[in-house]
Each structure stands twice: as structure tokens, then as C-alpha cells.
């Protein structure tokens, strides 16, 4: 009986992490559609992403309530809730970023398109590895370190790509307002990786606490 409830909660946590992964993939597709000027598909992906974020929020709250009301994992509860919440923040950033594309419709110069695709790819790799790290935190603590290392690597790559994009923008012969506008989008996509790294920092501490 106890185990049945526990397994249900485990499934919910896995489902939540699945939603974060899905969100990342939809974000990548959305960016690709935007850059290819397929606006209908882009809007459809945005809609999907918002739905995913909404579901993830509900699921996270449900998990949190269960963890608290059933006083589960008393020692690790704070860490787990922190991880899920900060992971949720990363998902929110993906949604907000795609929404900003939809609202502000930035003009991406053709020579920057590949850079933006690469940036989105790298940022979402960060997010995906973070999610894998969190999954390992629950089941295979030894593997977490590998994922944390990967996240750190992809985060640095993301920073490099974002820097490259920003440098390229500011070397084009366009208005400063345009330059600032595009830089702002590179910055937002980069934030997904930054947030993923924050989650991993928490994860590293949570691991130390569990091994104590």
C-alpha cells in the first residue's frame, strides 16, 4: 500500500521531468520555425509550450503538496522541492523567451540565423542534461556528477555562442536600437543555460548532503 503511493509519486516526478524535456524540444522547434519564417507553426509550438508549462506547474504543485503532507523524505525534501522549483524556472524562461519572439517579432539577420539555432540547441542541451542529473539524483547518485559536468560544459559553449552572436550583431551596419533588440534575444536564450547551471549547483550541494 505504502509502496503503491510512493511509486505513483515517483511516476509524477518522472512525468514532470518529461514535461521539462518536452518543453525544451518544443522550444527548439519553435525557434527553428521562427527563423524559417513559418509563423503558423511557430505560434502552434508556442501554444504547446504554454500548455506544457501549465501542466508542469500543476504537477509540481501536486508533488510538493504530497511531499509535505505525507512528510516524505524529511531530510531531502527541501532540496528536492528546490530542484523542482528551479527547474520549473528554466521551463518558464523557455516559454517567456518564445513568447517574446511572438510579441516583439525581432528581425533576425540571415547571417545570424545559424548562430541562434546553435544557441538554442546548446541551451536546451544544458536543460536536458540538468533533467537527467535530477533523475539520477533520485535513483543513481553516482551518475549525477557526469551530468553536472556536461551541463557546465554546455553552459560555457552557450556563453561562447551568445558572445559570438552579440559581437556579430554589433559589427553590422544597423541601428543601435536594432542591435540592442537582437542582443536581448540572444541574452534570453542564454538565460536557459544559466538557469540550468543554477539548478546543477543546487544539485551538487544536494548530492553532498545525501552522501553525508
Amino acid at each position: 500500500m505504502f509502496l503503491k503511493k510512493t511509486r505513483k509519486l515517483e511516476t509524477q516526478i518522472d512525468e514532470y521531468l518529461d514535461l521539462v524535456i518536452k518543453g525544451g524540444l518544443v522550444f527548439k522547434l519553435g525557434i527553428k520555425c521562427y527563423l524559417d519564417n513559418q509563423m503558423n507553426d511557430f505560434e502552434s509550438h508556442l501554444k504547446d509550450l504554454r500548455k506544457i508549462e501549465e501542466n508542469a506547474d500543476d504537477l509540481r504543485r501536486n508533488i510538493e503538496i504530497k511531499l509535505y503532507t505525507r512528510t516524505l523524505i524529511p531530510e531531502a525534501r527541501g532540496d528536492v522541492l528546490g530542484l523542482l522549483e528551479s527547474c520549473d524556472k528554466a521551463l518558464n524562461i523557455t516559454t517567456d523567451t518564445l513568447l517574446e519572439f511572438s510579441v516583439e517579432i525581432p528581425t533576425i539577420l540571415p547571417e545570424l540565423k545559424s548562430g541562434f539555432l546553435e544557441l538554442a540547441d546548446s541551451s536546451i542541451s544544458c536543460l536536458e542534461n540538468t533533467v537527467s542529473g535530477i533523475r539520477s539524483y533520485f535513483r543513481n547518485i553516482d551518475a549525477v556528477r557526469d551530468y553536472v559536468t556536461k551541463v557546465q560544459f554546455y553552459k560555457k559553449e552557450t556563453n561562447k555562442i551568445a558572445e559570438k552572436i552579440k559581437r556579430n550583431i554589433y559589427r553590422t551596419d544597423t541601428d543601435l536600437s536594432f542591435k540592442i533588440h537582437i542582443r536581448y534575444f540572444a541574452f534570453h536564450i542564454e538565460r536557459i543555460a544559466e538557469q540550468s547551471e543554477d539548478v546543477c549547483d543546487r544539485l551538487s550541494i544536494a548530492i553532498i548532503k545525501r552522501l553525508e
Binding site: 510512493t6 515517483e10 531530510e75 528536492v80
Partner: protein, 497 residues
């Protein structure tokens, strides 16, 4: 049962309540401190299983503690029980984790001091040894068990939530076992001395089962312990959790498991019996205290995990408390006995007659105890313990141990061998035909001293002699106790204390 008996029994209920409060931490402390089980849930489960342990397995347990002295008057029992209860509460208030046995020991020594009874040094040393052995053995087990768990279970790829559930279930099972065994092993200390004064008739519960008078008393005692856990148990848990040690769910489970394993391995006569029957090497039985084993287990697991998780300052305070507790309890007992005897004019000690016979002198001679100076006391009867003690000490300065033996051998303690009792009470499963026939051959013989009875019944033949075969010797010992209790006609209440 008259109202005064109930009044006296209320002291046992108070003692039960305080013992419950004191031992709550040993049962579910680690589960509650590590926040794996809510206090209320823990207290309810512990309460139920303490009561079940008391009623189902509680009867007949006699501890080494009872060898130390025999409180033989109801008012005396009342004073000792109240004093012990008060001492336990004082120790809880002082945030010192003591074992109930330490405080009860103090109470009995207080009674011995007040009544002039000598204390059995052997039994005393046995208990003192257990205060050292319990924490040390439990700490070793806790340390090893945690290392094993760390290198095996903690490396298995079990989901954190599943692991949490298993740990929680483990803590609840351990708590249930600890509660049941606490009830079974301690109810005799709490209610034992009142069993003979409370004459309750058997009670049929819906024609499903019957509760004997003794079981009903133990039920009351069990309920008192359960109430103690529920109403006051959290205080001791706070002392452990807030002051003494940082306890995580897994260290909590390891600690309580170590406590239970140690108590089972080193105190279970059933296990020893099982090993003997199966020709396996036995583990020496050592009287262990549950509180000391608990503290030892916490220290052991703490050292294995992280030595900084133990507050050694608090540990020092606890160890000092182990010395202070029996002294406090003895003092309170002496004072309360004095008041009850002199202010309330109640009899706190029933007279026990003593007489030094020739056989007593012979026995003392065989043990190398000086007898020349007490030869003039032969065949003189003393009705008062103190008077007997003074007369002996006036003649020779005997050591406490020698004095204890003189008292033990000189006590007038009537035995009459009765064939009817043999036929009706001795089962042929337990006793051989030769044993029964030999006992029948002694029919109608009476003895005024235990040593004479033992000499005639046990030592005049080979039937109950030790053979070196552990299983056989154990059975012989148990049979000797049954025979002794069967034919004793005067001090029937003693066997229950």
C-alpha cells in the same frame, strides 16, 4: 479487591507512566527525531504494542533486579514505586537519559538500606556490568551495521522515495518490536510487586479470550506505560534529538536495529535454547538495559557516519546521570519509606523470621565464612531483620557479601513436599518418571530453611546435578525453580517480585 489496594496500585501505575515516558525514545525516538514518523502515530503504535507485550508475554518475567531485594509489604512497594517514578521524572526534567532499571535499582537499594536488608553483591555487579556492557556492545553493533549498510544498501540504485518508504517501514517495524519487548520485559518491574495483593477474578472478553487476574493488572500497567509514552514521551525524544545527536532516517533505522539485535542476541533465552537444541554455539547471555543499548547504538552509528554528529558534552552529562540516578532514587526511597512508616503509620516491611541452624553453620563453614562467633545464636529466632543484622555484626565484622549469605541461608522459609501437588502440577512432559518418583518418596517432609530443602531434594541424588551438557543443565535449573516454588508455602508472593 479493596479500595486501599487500588490506592497502592496507583503507585505502580505512576511508575508505569514514568517508565513509559522515559522509554519512549528507545522505542520510536529515532523515527520521530528524524521526522519519519509523527509523534502521535508513533505514540499510538508504541502504546498498542506495549500493552500487547505486557498482557500476552508479560507474565512470569523475573529480572535480576528482583534478586537485589524483596519488597514484601504493600506500603513498602507503594513507597518504592512512587520514589522510583519521581526519580525517573526528575531525570527526564534534568535531560538525563537513564534506564528505568538504574532508578529501580536505586529504589531497591534504598529499601534494603531502610530495612537493614543486605544487598546481593553478585546481582549488583551483574547490573553494574550491564550498564557498561550494554552501550559498548550496542555501539560496536551500531558501528558495524552502519558500515555494512553504507557499503551495500546505500549503493543499490533504489529510488530516493522508495528508499524513504522502506526506511519508514523499517522504523515502524523496529518500533513495534521494541515496544512489544519493552512491555513484555518491564511490566513485571512495574506491576509485579502488586500481583499478590490484587485479587482479580478472571475476565471473559466476549467469550473470545480470558484475561487472568495477573493479565488484567498487566493490562492496567501497560495502559499506564502507553499513557506515559503519549503524554510525556516527547521530552526524552527532544533530549536525544536536539541535544545529544543528529539523527538521519537511515542512521535512526540502523541505531534502533542495532539496539534490537543486541538485545535479542544477548538476552534471549529462547535463542539460546534454539542454539542448544540445534547443537550450535551459544552466545553468552548478558543482562542488557534497553536505554543504554539505545544510547550505545546511537553513538556507534554516529561514529561510523560522522563523529561530529555526537555531542560528547551531553554524553558526559548522561554518563554522570547514570551514577546520580540510582543514588537519587535510593535517597528518595529512604525518605518516603520513613514518612510512610512514621507519619502515616503504615507497615513498609513485613517481619521475616531468621534462625541460624546447625545446617546453616555447616554451609557457612563450607564456604569459609567465619562461624565461631555466631555459634551462640544457633536455634535463636529473630523476627526483625535489623535486630538479626545487629546481633551478627556485633559478633564479627562480616563483609556485605558474607552477610548476604548468612541472611539468605538463615531465612525461615517453609517447604513441604506434597504428593498431591506433584500429581496435579508437575507435567510428565517436563519431568521424568525418576524425578517424579523421587519427589514422591519425600512426601510430607517439611523444611524450615531453603538450604535444607535444597540439600535433601536436589543434592542428595544425581537427578538434578549439572552434567556439563548445557541444554540438560538449563532444563535442570528451570525444573529446580519450579519444584522450589511448588513446595514453598510461606513466601508465595516473593516469586512474583
Amino acid at each position: 479487591m479493596d479500595i486501599s489496594a487500588w490506592f497502592f496500585i496507583s503507585s505502580a501505575l505512576f511508575l508505569g507512566w514514568s517508565a513509559g515516558a522515559n522509554n519512549a525514545a528507545n522505542i520510536f525516538g529515532t523515527a520521530v527525531i528524524s521526522k519519519m514518523v509523527k509523534f502521535k502515530t508513533a505514540a499510538i503504535i508504541a502504546g498498542i504494542f506495549v500493552i500487547l507485550g505486557s498482557v500476552i508475554s508479560g507474565a512470569g518475567t523475573t529480572e535480576t533486579l528482583t534478586d537485589l531485594g524483596s519488597v514484601n509489604a504493600l506500603a513498602g512497594s507503594f513507597a518504592v514505586a512512587v520514589s522510583v517514578g519521581i526519580s525517573i521524572i526528575l531525570m527526564i526534567r534534568a535531560k538525563v537519559l537513564v534506564s528505568s532499571s538504574q532508578v529501580i535499582l536505586g529504589g531497591i537499594i534504598g529499601w534494603n538500606l531502610f530495612t537493614g536488608s543486605p544487598t546481593d553483591n553478585n546481582a549488583l555487579y551483574k547490573i553494574l556490568f550491564s550498564w557498561v556492557a550494554s552501550p559498548v556492545i550496542a555501539a560496536i553493533f551500531g558501528f558495524i551495521l552502519f558500515k555494512i549498510v553504507k557499503n551495500t544498501v546505500l549503493k543499490w540504485k533504489i529510488h530516493l522515495l522508495e528508499f524513504d518508504t522502506y526506511t519508514r517501514i523499517g522504523l515502524i517495524i523496529a518500533g513495534v518490536l521494541a515496544a512489544y519487548s519493552f512491555g513484555a520485559n518491564n511490566i513485571a518491574n512495574v506491576m509485579g510487586m502488586f500481583v499478590d495483593s490484587a485479587h482479580l477474578s478472571d475476565l471473559n472478553v466476549g467469550s473470545i479470550f480470558t484475561l487472568t487476574g495477573e493479565q488484567q493488572l498487566f493490562l492496567f500497567g501497560g495502559v499506564a506505560i502507553a499513557v506515559g509514552i503519549f503524554t510525556y514521551g516527547t521530552n526524552v525524544m527532544d533530549t536525544v534529538g536536539e541535544d545529544f545527536a543528529k539523527i538521519s532516517p537511515i542512521t535512526g533505522l540502523v541505531a534502533i536495529s542495532a539496539e534490537i539485535i543486541v538485545l535479542f542476541l544477548f538476552t534471549s533465552q529462547k535463542l539460546e535454547q534454539f542454539l542448544l537444541v540445534n547443537n550450535l554455539p551459544t552466545i553468552p547471555l548478558v543482562p542488557l538495559s534497553i536505554t543504554q543499548a539505545f544510547i550505545g547504538a546511537i553513538i556507534g552509528t554516529g561514529l561510523a557516519k560522522d563523529p561530529h554528529s555526537i555531542n560528547f558534552k551531553v554524553l558526559g552529562r548522561i554518563v554522570v546521570g547514570w551514577g546520580v540516578a540510582p543514588v537519587t532514587s535510593a535517597l528518595i526511597t529512604v525518605v518516603s519509606l520513613f514518612f510512610i512508616q512514621n507519619v502515616f503509620e503504615q507497615t513498609v516491611v513485613l517481619p521475616e523470621p531468621y534462625e541460624i541452624t546447625k545446617s546453616v553453620i555447616a554451609r557457612l563453614d563450607s564456604e569459609g565464612i567465619e562461624t565461631e562467633n555466631i555459634n551462640d545464636l544457633v536455634n535463636k529466632e529473630f523476627l526483625n531483620k535489623k535486630e538479626f543484622r545487629n546481633e551478627i555484626l556485633k559478633r564479627y565484622n562480616y563483609s556485605n557479601e558474607q552477610l548476604y549469605n548468612i541472611f539468605a541461608y538463615s531465612l525461615i522459609d517453609s517447604f513441604v513436599v506434597d504428593s498431591n501437588l506433584i500429581n496435579s502440577k508437575l507435567s510428565s512432559d517436563e519431568f521424568s518418571e525418576a524425578e517424579i518418583n523421587f519427589l514422591k518418596s519425600l512426601h510430607s517432609k517439611s523444611y524450615s530453611h531453603k538450604i535444607d530443602f535444597e540439600k535433601d531434594v536436589f543434592q542428595s541424588n544425581d537427578i538434578w546435578q549439572n552434567t556439563g551438557d548445557k541444554l540438560n543443565d538449563k532444563k535442570n535449573k528451570a525444573n529446580r525453580v519450579i519444584i522450589e516454588q511448588l513446595f514453598r508455602i510461606n513466601r508465595s508472593n516473593k516469586s512474583h517480585k
